[in-house]
């Protein structure tokens, strides 16, 4: 059997592009889990609301970039408000409480979107439509731009966590919430900020990905499911692990879809998930399981 190098290269590019977007969704999710032990089932809806906010701003102003920024800010603020009203009172309770709360939020937001925007998918026009030739394909530049922008946002998050005062607060709180408080770190406020950052990143992915898929009320479901797989495979709460896992799983799926249909390729990520849970439950990309 001949190895189809051209297809493999195309699928590598596709896998990397999807992987970066997925990493953007998953890093917010894993950041929130790491610091609050909250599994945010409403993350997909924040992604979806980001995309809708993008649609509204683009319709009003015609500017994709303005829409991106506005959607991030709007959803980050919304995320902060949701965290204060819904999750802050549940801090320290059994994780089941927060799972139910975020699941409830997810249903409310999804049905609100259905009621407000209707069942028909909206389209976000990509900011530019140029293409380049990749073998026999005309490959849209926009996909490359998405990958690069996602990487830039994640790099920005990394620098923020590494060097800023708030970043140190976030990492300290993630490691030891009690000692962080005893050092004067305003932990409830840190939780809210982290939730807002995660929400803003979900919104950014929603707007960036909007042009590739239709914007509808259920668009978050697929992504959040994949993001959950990534977060588990990368090690719950481990940011670097999530990013690697997002790229790894997206590449696997992209390669698998050379030989099977894309809908069957999703099986690959489920298999990786199950294998990880069986043999390496702390995550594939964690150096030493603790």
């Amino acid at each position: 059997m001949d190895i189809p190098w051209d297809i493999i290269l195309i699928q590598t590019v596709n896998g990397l592009v999807t992987g970066m977007i997925l990493a953007l969704v998953a890093s917010g999710l894993t950041l929130i889990f790491g610091i609050m032990d909250v599994v945010n089932f409403a993350h997909g809806e924040l992604f979806m609301l980001g995309a809708y906010a993008g649609v509204i701003v683009i319709t009003a102003t015609g500017s994709f970039w303005l829409a991106l920024i506005a959607a991030v800010l709007f959803v980050a603020l919304l995320g902060a408000a949701l965290q204060i009203t819904t999750l802050r009172p549940l801090l320290g309770r059994d994780p089941l409480n927060t799972i139910l709360a975020t699941f409830g939020l997810s249903l409310v937001l999804q049905n609100y979107a259905l009621w407000q925007f209707g069942p028909v998918a909206r389209k976000i026009q990509e900011p530019f439509t140029g293409q380049f030739t990749l073998f026999y394909l005309q490959y849209p530049w926009y996909r490359i731009v998405i990958a690069v922008l996602s990487a830039a946002i994640i790099a920005g998050l990394y620098l923020f966590l590494k060097y800023s005062r708030y970043g140190i607060w976030i990492r300290a709180t993630t490691q030891d919430r009690v000692m962080a408080q005893a050092m004067g770190i305003p932990v409830p406020q840190v939780h809210t900020v982290v939730f807002a950052i995660g929400a803003g990143m979900a919104a950014a992915s929603g707007v960036l990905f909007g042009p590739l898929v239709g914007v509808n009320h259920a668009m978050g479901l697929d992504w959040v499911l994949k993001a959950f797989i990534v977060v588990v495979v990368g090690g719950m709460g481990n940011l670097g692990g999530s990013i690697l896992a997002a790229i790894f799983i997206s590449l696997l799926e992209a390669y698998a879809s050379i030989w099977v249909s894309p809908s069957q390729a999703i099986i690959v990520s489920s298999v990786v998930l199950i294998l990880t849970l069986l043999f390496r439950p702390t995550g594939l990309f964690v150096p030493t399981p603790k």
Binding site: I168, R171, Q175, Q181, M183, G184
Partner: protein
């Protein structure tokens, strides 16, 4: 407050009762620490010494009783506010942020509003002068330090808050004798700077040497109180409350 400013205790704990779930740990603990005073808290394991410190810090909430700092009640304040008003906490298990570097551990206390860059530098220079090992290892992860170095870091980290009092929970536990004498020295340095200390210890000679007054706890309450100068290591009181 009718009491004159000079006689007002820095920290005043009055009759606090603290529970962990259904277990009643503190049965009405009362104690005072004056400004700049080094006070010891002795007793066997499990009598509630650490819980007393955690209650002052706001890490556990007493169901009864009051805690005041400079005359202001802080009984229900969240721990981060308690830390910011000037109470430093060095827990028994040190609780270094293991994945943060030494420098980042210190920055958790240093990066506060109103601290100038010059002041930050002064505070850092002070702890690095006293604990040169920390200076050498400033970019190393906290988790890679030895037990003694972690203890130095835990104390230095609390000092970054420029506290008026430090709650020290068994700082010499598990340390080599050389480290123990270094801990004794730093208590002296802090005392010299006017920082009050509430010291929980098992090391009786060190406690009697470092402290002015000693409270003895038994079964979740303070049972006895004495000036350290009136006690000796083989005192019957020590035997009664510590069984050594």
């Amino acid at each position: 407050m009718s009491a004159p400013q000079t006689s007002q205790p820095l920290v005043s704990v009055q009759g606090i009762h603290t529970y962990y779930g259904k277990s009643h740990i503190l049965h009405g603990v009362s104690l005072d620490v004056g400004p700049g005073e080094v006070v010891g808290l002795l007793g066997r394991n499990g009598v509630g010494k650490s819980t007393t410190l955690k209650s002052i810090m706001g890490l556990v909430n007493p169901s009864e009783g009051t805690i005041a700092f400079q005359g202001q009640p802080i009984t229900r304040e969240p721990p981060h506010k308690v830390a910011r008003i000037g109470i430093g906490y060095v827990p028994e298990d040190r609780r270094i942020f293991k994945l943060l570097t030494v420098m980042e551990n210190l920055r958790t206390g240093l990066d506060r509003a109103g601290v100038t860059e010059t002041r930050k530098r002064e505070l850092l220079d002070k702890v690095f002068a006293f604990f040169p090992r920390l200076g050498e290892r400033r970019n190393q992860a906290g988790g890679t330090l030895s037990g003694g170095e972690q203890q130095m870091l835990a104390i230095s980290r609390a000092m970054m808050l420029e506290p008026k009092i430090i709650l020290l929970d068994e700082p010499t536990e598990g340390l080599m004798p050389r480290m123990v004498s270094q801990i004794r020295e730093i208590i002296g340095v802090l005392h010299g700077e006017g920082v009050a200390i509430l010291l929980v210890e098992q090391n009786v000679p060190l406690t009697l040497d470092a402290c002015k007054r000693i409270y003895f706890m038994e079964k979740g309450a303070v049972r006895h109180h004495a000036n350290a100068s009136e006690l000796s290591v083989n005192d019957p009181v020590i035997h009664q409350y510590l069984g050594v």
